[in-house]
């Protein structure tokens, strides 16, 4: 248990670490540029039947994110939304929204009373 540590300022540490990152980036860039293969070949783009929009936009597809996260992972949220909110019946939508709004109003009233009592 003889390892000692100095108590620097967190700001100094941050500056040192970012300086280190900049230095290593420059060194890596020089090494990479001097060693890398210069052979570059342009090929026709292979899209597997997808439209060209797939590669034109520099961001991942919103559809993929939705499918991967909401519909697959958060399936219970998805099912709740489909079965209780978007059933197609305005009565069910109204009862869902009004119940939540009712809870919020009750909470607001409760918090107001507590605030007044605490004063």
């Amino acid at each position: 248990m003889t390892h000692s540590y100095s108590l620097n300022d967190p700001l100094v540490t941050t500056i040192l670490v970012f300086t280190s990152m900049s230095v290593s980036f420059l060194v890596l860039l020089i090494i990479y540029q001097s060693l890398k293969s210069r052979v570059v070949r342009e090929t026709k783009i292979y899209l597997s039947g997808e439209p060209e929009e797939v590669v034109r936009e520099a961001s991942p597809s919103v559809g993929n994110l939705y499918w991967g996260f909401i519909k697959k992972f958060a399936r219970s949220i998805f099912n709740t939304l489909i079965n209780k909110v978007q059933t197609g019946s305005i009565h069910e939508w109204f009862s869902f929204i009004s119940s939540w709004l009712g809870i919020l109003i009750l909470l607001a009233v409760l918090m107001s009373i507590l605030y007044l009592l605490a004063r």
Binding site: T13, L16, V40, N64
Partner: protein, 328 residues
């Protein structure tokens, strides 16, 4: 810390040269162990017992292979992103107790996590999106979905022992202070369950963070070619592989120091301490490789649910228990 010391730490030890060498060695270990678990030989011909195979593969990709591009590729952006990811990992090594010239300070764990976990993954995503393709898009989407759970799990898993070990010191959330004291948490019967939960969480979180099976769905081979790295070739693929290996090394070293206590109960300067660090590092890599070889790939929804159950939940429970322990 003067300029010479900073340059030595950045470029030689524990920075660029050491981290690169350890990355190649770790890749060799993972490949050799995986091969043995699958009754294959693994790397054998380049260097003694094939130990230089990863170096040879890297140099071949970097120097001999051609870089393929399409008219939408942004090669320069991909190169710079990957190099920034590599340099952030190199800089993060300065904060580990391996560094001879300590630059630590209170709350340096937050700086470490930012450099070692946030930067590299963002840079991989930017590099991947700079070389667009249909499989790249699907891979990045899956990667982002996985990250929503794996990064919080990894962060919480590391934060709990750091907070517990450095809570009542004058150096809160400091890596060096944690590395010295975390072994006491394993000895204390009240904090032992917390450490076990943290270890379970980190085993799962590291597999997903490094995109190893069963969480390798972002680069699902055969299904979406190579996912987020499908369009990488030649020198770019060399950089991407090196970035992945360096990420493996830094993540494993973080667990060795922040959860397993590094050289404790010995010091860094002793032979026993050095051997213990090597042994713990080897243990972490072996466990990760074992899990990689035992499990098949999960679908994205299965992966996310399992990550939530066995990665994030144990870490959150450990955090709650740790808070109760600290404040009662």
């Amino acid at each position: 810390m003067d300029v010479f010391q900073l340059l030595f730490a950045t470029l030689i030890f524990p920075g660029l040269v050491f981290l690169t060498a350890l990355s190649f060695l770790t890749q060799y270990l993972v490949r050799k162990l995986s091969a043995r678990m699958q009754r294959r030989m693994g790397p054998k011909y380049v260097g003694p017992v094939g130990i230089l195979q990863p170096v040879y593969d890297f140099l071949k990709l970097l120097r001999a292979k051609e870089l393929l591009k399409t008219r939408y590729s942004m090669i320069r952006a991909a190169e710079i992103s990957l190099l920034l990811g590599l340099s952030s990992l190199v800089a993060s090594m300065l904060l580990l107790p391996l560094n001879v010239y300590s630059v630590g300070s209170p709350y340096d764990f937050l700086i470490f996590f930012y450099m070692a976990s946030i930067w590299p993954i963002i840079m991989i995503i930017i590099a991947s999106l700079s070389m667009p393709g249909p499989y790249t898009s699907v891979g990045v989407s899956r990667l982002l979905s996985i990250l929503t759970v794996s990064e919080p799990a990894f962060f919480t898993g590391l934060l709990v022992p750091v907070a517990l070990a450095s809570f009542d010191t004058n150096a809160p959330l400091m890596i060096s202070a944690t590395a010295v004291r975390v072994v006491n948490l394993w000895m204390n019967p009240l904090t032992l369950p917390i450490m076990i939960l943290v270890t379970i969480s980190l085993i799962v979180a590291v597999q997903s963070k490094l995109m190893l099976p069963p969480f390798n769905i972002p680069e699902a081979e055969q299904e979406i070619i190579a996912g987020y790295e499908t369009e990488f070739s030649g020198p770019l693929l060399a950089l991407a592989i090196l970035l992945h290996d360096m990420d493996t090394v830094v993540s494993a070293l973080a667990i060795v120091y922040l959860v397993l206590g590094g050289p404790a109960p010995f010091s860094h300067a002793s032979i026993e301490g050095v051997l213990l660090v090597i042994l713990k590092y080897f243990l972490v890599i072996t466990v990760a490789t074992y899990v990689k070889n035992v499990f098949g790939r999960y679908r994205i929804d299965q992966a996310l649910v399992l990550l939530l159950k066995y990665g994030l939940m144990p870490a959150v429970i450990a955090g709650v228990l740790g808070s109760i322990y600290l404040y009662l």
